[in-house]
Symmetry: C2
Subunit: 116 residues, 2 copies
DNA sequence: GCCGCTCCCCTTGTATTTCGAGGGTAGCGA
DNA sequence: TCGCTACCCTCGAAATACAAGGGGAGCGGC
């Protein structure tokens, strides 16, 4: 049915963002913990390098989806805690939905017949 | 459990490749038709621009996954027909599997609990 | 015969993002 | 004091999707 047409990277490249937002939906966390969460939540199927994650966090912050503040970690280290903003929560819903529709479309294509 | 750890783009960026390979699994087709197939097979959820698809085809050819040959289209135009090679068929299996595992991991994360 | 549409190919520049490698500080236990 | 782990960051290289642009050739209508 007439859903809007998506371009690829809008959803694809946003997958990291989606995972980060989702990880913060449980409450504030620092970058290092976010990385661990993703790895754990995907049962080690996905690993995010620090060189990938750390640039992503200010990006999300710039867009107003997360907010940062320094604090002490569980291990008594300085750590930058990120928390979801109101608009970040909305964005999480948007991206979750996009992902679901995108994944459904790919799965559909994988079992689609030849072109008519 | 102990699946291999994936990096993001290996799977993500390969999604277009996966769709193209899948579209050719039904037999040779020219680029224009591949684009139409993808749009149709995903129920209009995904649209691939020509500026995206046409550079992708030589890329896949370079990797030995598809082979090109000129011919006449259904509408009696010159068209470049691509067909899956043997190694392309293998690649299709690999990428299908990767996609399934990747998608499963993301879905798992979307319903994962807070970090321990 | 000509117009315009659709089919079909392609290139270029730009923007975005991921990755790997590298570098740095600071607790903490031995 | 050593070394490990937790924690932050930057940089350059590589990929690739996109929008915009350009072109040729059938074909049907006039």
């Amino acid at each position: 049915m007439g859903a809007r047409v998506n371009t690829l990277p809008e959803v694809l490249r946003g997958t990291l963002d989606l995972l980060v937002l989702q990880s913060l939906s449980w409450g504030p966390a620092h970058g290092y913990a976010v990385a661990r969460w993703i790895q754990q939540a995907t049962d080690d199927a996905l690993a995010i390098g620090e060189g990938t994650l750390y640039p992503a966090l200010p990006r999300l912050e710039e867009r107003g989806w997360i907010a940062a503040s320094w604090g002490a970690s569980e291990n008594n280290r300085q750590a930058k805690f990120y928390s979801l903003t109101r608009s970040g929560r909305a964005q999480l819903r948007v991206e979750t939905d996009q992902w679901r529709r995108y994944a459904a479309a790919v799965f559909a294509a994988l079992s689609a017949p030849a072109l008519k």
